[in-house]
Structures are given as structure tokens and as C-alpha cells.
Symmetry: C2
Subunit: 457 residues, 2 copies
């Protein structure tokens, strides 16, 4: 690696390369709380440098792992077999916001929240909004096909990408897709790259689709004394033809967790809380939120409260987004899954989780995007306690099995990475996995880009 | 082929196979008006039969070409090198419409218009609506990633497919994607198959995403004395933050053509006509259409008329959908392209087309989905007139070049097939084409499925 490192310094400049342990340690982790020390960390400036790095990697035989902010939940940016981490933070320009055509050209290192602010200043809207948006990057969001709460109405990252520039593992710079609303020339390489978790290419530029910013957003909370009632309310809302922009839910443990962290007066006795948002023209949003209040009341909500101002809405989101990091009050380790079931099967899934909780005595916390059937299911534990860990792993397996029985998927937005790779074959058949592996081989014949991810070994 | 034919009869049943010339002739053509006689035509019943057929094709070495209704515009379903046409008309069941989860499971032979009716009866909505929807099939729509007028607001076919069952060219039956709103496990095989023009697999079942049916639709027409003014109005509508569900336009030749065919009182002197539709709650749609009327007037429309009832709206759509077939009054042959430019560049494209019209003296007719920048550009001619044909081909090439200069694409929704294959390399680089060919090879190592499509030879 030493002679390769000198060549890498020549490509990216000495100031943008390091193999010092204290630097490497900063890029060894992600949100899985697992840690793998890379051999080097580089901060390339553009596609050409990345191309040269990948050509060298093929020649010298080292691994390359692209990395946004390291906020991934499944280990996608970890150097599990060593190699060179490419931190994309210097490709951080918003190149254009085109109001006439409702598109933007941007680089992958742009922090998603910063992108939101920039387009909103122009009266435009980029709907994908993962909970990590304050620190995660557009590139990471595309690599994982991030979702978030607004997907109920607006879909996921995949739905907002029109075209890409990317560097293939073999070093060629390619352009995929279009800059227009429609385009069907050739195979859909754009969406093949999206969600490929950095294993098929390194995205260096993207054309994103924007919408006009909705005039008004209204939010409300609905408190239920039974989780099943809340879950059934979600189904009823959709059944009646409403598509709110978000329908989030929190279970009792999530509510307590957020409240103890933030002290904003959340109802800590409630078994379940729904956080519903609508948007549109002012009149429309006002009318919708009232109609939804009526639906929630008729479904047996104990208390429904429409947020009175933006500060109240902001507090609710602060609470919702605080849950995941705040969970550690329940235990030093977290196993965090993002299963999805058909919306109407959420009550079944909730019953299953309750049964497992009782059976195992483990601390389980659920919250998530109820409108999509996307449940963030967490087990808080001390992994050093082997008996507890074993019970937790069995519970996870049971949850996955039940998810698939209900017609769901084991990952709605976090990807497979390393944490779900052992379970992938539960959902994806061997012919399909084989096909994916052959596609990987087409893109990356020597297997130098982000190895050890997605595929069960 | 004779011994293979007997084996095919064993697979699909004698009643569902033919090699009689009079039968073959019925499946030799499509909407390109080109014709290639296949060796046999089969009507398989299910994925298992299709699998057996494909396994035999690999063994005996014959080509297989899947076919919906043969309404494709670029030759995707033509047996250009002979082989067996698989007509999907017997896989025509709508298996489930799930109101709770807003999804439907259907087979590829379902006619799109029939699917629209079925879901609308349940108060649901499947937005993709190609002009061919009265006869084209869901399978064909997916294979080409069909668009249509509603794409401005609702996107294209790709955006409404969650998962697929498909038979690989090698005979394996695969399942891709999910049945839920979100899902990111493994590479996106679903969207790789969509728009692959029947070259990577034969779709045998699909999970489609539905929306609640909008409460109200309102439509209006706006007449302009200059095409540029109409085009600029489209940009202005978007710039002001409106996203109508359709913004169609017709040039003078299209208007005359539709009027002579239908006699419904279209303004035959107008240089350009916009047909704008909005949808939503009743109040919202009523308000929107009035606001758009104001925008059109302020942009210099000579006449704006809001349709007073559903019959009027139906007539407008009859006119719009009649243009393409009615064009033959201008000449025995049609060259038909579906370029897309960034919305704001439509005026540039219109000027280019006007200049070419003057330069060549050819009959050129434009209409299309102005809201997407998707222009259906037609040259009507007599192909037996070699000089005319040559001029037309040069004009097409000039239009494609200008489209790409403006940041557009040579196909928004018709695909590449055989008619655009010679131009594909204008838009897609050699590295990207090579990548696509390698993907094709992974799926279809012996090249037996739908040969001669997409790729320039």
C-alpha cells in the first residue's frame, strides 16, 4: 500500500490524502457503530481524480470505498476489508437551480439539508428528507435510495433523479439518464446506480427533479391508547382517499425517549402517537388537516391537536428526529431495522412485535413512517451480554420472517450493506442474487469498489 | 424450425400456436408501418409456458419476440430477424385491486384503458395514459416505459411499478421489487426491466402503484397566433409554480388535421392551441383553471375557453388523440419522432422546426406534451419519392442534433427499437452503450430475446 499511497498523493495532492491513524479513525465508523480502519483516506476534487484513483486501484489491487457523511445505517461506507476511503466532501457544489425547468445540477457532497434550504429559497421543493438530512449528503442518499417521512405523498430519492455522472469502478466517466422530464433511450443505468450502495460506480454529479414549494404545511398529532388503533387509523386515512405528506408514528417507548431528551410536553402515557402533515394551497391544507382530525377522532383517538404555528411543528419534528439517537438511554447497543409491510398489515406487525417483546423481555422501540408501512424497529441491549444478544438476533429473524410473510421487505430505505447481507437471501431468490452479482461483475470485474456489501457470502 | 414448432405446440397447445402465413401476417407489423413476417406466433398462457419456450429457444436456437398489441412506435415488437412472436393477450387478468394499500397486481396482456376503467370504478387512479391506451397493453407500456399527457404532474410508467414477475431469456422465472411503497434490497432489477423494450426479460406479472382518483378534472383550450407565444406560455405556467396535470399543444397542421377528421369546431386558423387540464378537489380544480386562464391571457392568448362539461373535455381529447392516425391525409408515409427538450427550450425547438419546414418544403406537423418538453414531430411524405425521403432523413438528423444541443433526448416515451437505433450513439456514449450490451449479455447470453433492437450494429 505504501507505493500506491505515494501514487495517490500524486493524483489528489498531498494535502488531500492521509494514512495517519488519527485521520483514519475519523473515517472508520458509521451509524451502525461498527468500525473498520481503512488504509488511507482521500478527499478527491472531481471526477477526473476519482477516475485516476480507480484506474490505479485496478492496477495495484486495492479497494476503494466512497463515503458521504458516514451516516448510513447498514455499513455501506465502511472499509470492511481495508482500502482507500474516498470522502466526497470537496464535491460539494450546487451547480445550478433551474426554475424554468424545475431541475438542479449538484455534486454528491452537498449536505441534503443545505440543498433543501437552497432550493426552498427559490420557491422550489426537493421532497426526499431522510431523518439524517442535517448531515447526510445527496450522494449518500442516492447510493442508498433514501426515503424519509414525505415518501407517502412524494415518493423516494429514486423518483427525483433524472440523470447522473458517475465514475465506473474501471475508471471510465459515464453519463446516464436525461435532464428532461422524460427519457427512454437505452437501459435505465440511472436507477441501476441509485440504491446500489456505492458498489457499481461513484456518483460525481446529479440532475435532480424539483417541484414548486407547497404554499402551506399543516401538522397535527393524534394520541391513541392502543397501538393497533393508531395503525388502523393509518389504513383508514388512506382508504378514504387522503394522501397526507407524512404519517409518522411513535410507540410509547419512543415518546418517552424523545420527551426525556427534549422536554416539550409529549404525552408520555400514550401508547401511540401519530404525527400527520398535509401540504398544498393554504385553504386546501387548512381543510385537509381538519378533515383528518375528524377521521382520527372517529377512529378513537384520545386527543388530536393541530399545531398552531411553525414553532410547534418544528418541535414535533425535533422530537421525531431525536428518537433514533436518544434511544441509547435504554441500552448501550442498538439493533436498528427498517422493515416495510403493506400499510394495511401494520396492525399485524405491531401485534407480532408486542408478542416478541413479552416473550423475550427485551427493550424494543418502534417508530417510523406509518404511511408507507415503513417501521423502524429497534432493540436496545448490551451486546456484551451474550444471552441477550442471542435473544435479540432471534427476535430480529422472527421480525424479518413475519415481514416477508405479510408481503413486505426487510429494508425500506437503509439498504443492505453489511448488517442485512446475512438476511438478504430470505427476501431475494438465488437466481435474482446471481443476476445482481453478474451485473456487479460487468461494472467491476476486479471487485475493487466497496467490497463485502449487499451480497451474502 | 419445423421440429421446434412441434415442440412449441406441445408446450402451448396446438390451438395456441400457428405458422400459417395468414396468421403470421397479423403479427408482422406495428405502428411503424414496417412489416417482418415471423416464423411462428404463439399465445402462451402463463409464465411457466413462457419459461419452457425460452429454454427451448436457447436449445434449438430460435428468436423469441414478446408482443402486446403491436402499437409500438419504434418497432420493439417486430420479428426483424424472424423467430417466434409471443402474443401476451391470454395473460390478461387484473388479479387484484387493493384499495387499502393502493396497489394492483395485473398481467401484462391487460389493455391499459381497461385497467383505467377497472381502478377508477374503485375510486382509484393509474396515471400513465399513452395516446394508445384504448388498445395498448400494460406489458407493452412497461417494456417501453410509456409516458403520455399526464406525466407533467404524475410522471411516467416507471413511477407506478413496484415489482415484477418476469421470465429471463434463459427461462428462469424471477421476482423483482416489492409490493410496498418503499424497498431497497439489492439492485433495482424492476427499473432495469422497465424500458428495456422486451430485450432483458418477458414480464408476466406486475405490481402497480395506484393513487386515489382526483375528485375533479377541469380543462381549457388557449389559442395563440404564434407558436412561440404558446411555448413561452408553457414556461410561464411552470415558472409561476403551477403543475397542471397536462399541457398539450397542437400546431396549425395538427389542428386542421384533427378538425377535418372530427368536425368539432377547432380553431383552424390558430397557429397553436394549448390544451390544459388540472385536477384535485372540486374547489381547487375550479380555482386553478381560472388562474391558468389569467396566465394564458396575460401571455397574449387570443382566446381561452374553459370546457363547460365532460362531453366538451372528451371531444378535446378525441381531437388530440386523433391527430397521429389522421395525419396520413398529408402523405402516405409518416416519420414520427418523440424528442424531448427542457421545457424552457421549446421555443428554440419550434423556431428550428419552422426553419427546417421553410428550408425543405416538407410537410411537418408537431404536437405533443408541451408540459414535459416532449414534442411529437412528424414528417408526412411519400417514401417512394427518394429525393423527398432523403430531405426528410436529413431534417430528422438536424432535429435530433438540435434536440441534443438543447440538452434534450431523442426519445421521451417511444423507445429506441429499430427506428432510432441508428441515432442512439448521438445521445449515448460508447462506454455506456458497451455497458448496456454487457448487461444484455448477462441476461441473454445467447441473444435469443428480441434481437436487433435498441443497439446500433
Amino acid at each position: 500500500m505504501n507505493s500506491s499511497f505515494r501514487k495517490l498523493q500524486n493524483i489528489a495532492g498531498k494535502a488531500h490524502c492521509s494514512n495517519k491513524k488519527e485521520d483514519l479513525a475519523c473515517y472508520a465508523y458509521d451509524a451502525t457503530a461498527r468500525s473498520y480502519l481503512p488504509d488511507a483516506v482521500l478527499f478527491p476534487r472531481n471526477a477526473e481524480e476519482i477516475s485516476a484513483i480507480l484506474i490505479l486501484a485496478n492496477k495495484d489491487g486495492f479497494f476503494v470505498i466512497p463515503r458521504g457523511s458516514g451516516s448510513g445505517m447498514t455499513g455501506g461506507s465502511l472499509a470492511v476489508s481495508g482500502g482507500v476511503i474516498l470522502v466526497m466532501s470537496r464535491l460539494n457544489r450546487i451547480l445550478e437551480i433551474d426554475k424554468d425547468n424545475l431541475i438542479s445540477h449538484a455534486e454528491p457532497g452537498v449536505v441534503t439539508g443545505r440543498f433543501h434550504q437552497a432550493v426552498e429559497k427559490e420557491g422550489l421543493f426537493y421532497p426526499p428528507d431522510p431523518a439524517s438530512s442535517e448531515f447526510s449528503t445527496l450522494g449518500g442518499n442516492l447510493a442508498e435510495c433514501a426515503g424519509g417521512p414525505r415518501a407517502v405523498k412524494y415518493g423516494v430519492t429514486r423518483d427525483y433523479v433524472l440523470g447522473l455522472e458517475a465514475v465506473l469502478p474501471t475508471g471510465e466517466i459515464i453519463h446516464t439518464g436525461v435532464q428532461t422530464a422524460k427519457g427512454v433511450v437505452g437501459y435505465d443505468l440511472t436507477r441501476l446506480l441509485i440504491g446500489s450502495e456505492g458498489t457499481l460506480g461513484i456518483i460525481t454529479r446529479m440532475t435532480l427533479r424539483l417541484l414548486p414549494l407547497p404554499e402551506a404545511v399543516r401538522a397535527m398529532t393524534a394520541v391513541f391508547d392502543k397501538m393497533e388503533k393508531a395503525a388502523e387509523t393509518v389504513s383508514e386515512v388512506i382508504r378514504r382517499g387522503f394522501i397526507p405528506r407524512t404519517i409518522e408514528y411513535m410507540d410509547n417507548a419512543s415518546i418517552r425517549c424523545a420527551e426525556s431528551h427534549l422536554k416539550i410536553g409529549l404525552p408520555v402515557e400514550a401508547e401511540a402517537l401519530l404525527l400527520i402533515e398535509v401540504d398544498g394551497k393554504v385553504d386546501e391544507a387548512d381543510m385537509l388537516i381538519k378533515q383528518l382530525k375528524t377521521v382520527c377522532m372517529s377512529q378513537g383517538a384520545k386527543l388530536v391537536k393541530i399545531a398552531e404555528n411553525e414553532a410547534e411543528v418544528a418541535n414535533l419534528w425535533k422530537a421525531r428526529k431525536a428518537i433514533s439517537p436518544a434511544l441509547f438511554k435504554y441500552g448501550p447497543d442498538k439493533i436498528n431495522e427498517d422493515i416495510v409491510v403493506p400499510r394495511s398489515r401494520i396492525p399485524d406487525m405491531v401485534r407480532k412485535i408486542n408478542a416478541l417483546k413479552e416473550e423475550t423481555g427485551l427493550t424494543m422501540v418502534s417508530f417510523g413512517h406509518a404511511g408507507d408501512g415503513n417501521i423502524h424497529f429497534n432493540i436496545m441491549l448490551d451486546k456484551k451480554n451474550r444471552a441477550e444478544l442471542k435473544k435479540a438476533e432471534e427476535a430480529i429473524e422472527a421480525v424479518f420472517d413475519h415481514t416477508l410473510e405479510l408481503g413486505g421487505t426487510i429494508s425500506g430505505e437503509h439498504g443492505v450493506g453489511i448488517t442485512k447481507a446475512p438476511y438478504m437471501a430470505k427476501e431475494i431468490g438465488s437466481v435474482e442474487i446471481d443476476l445482481m452479482k453478474k451485473i456487479k461483475k460487468v461494472f467491476d470485474p476486479k471487485g475493487i469498489l466497496n467490497p463485502g456489501k449487499i451480497f451474502p457470502d
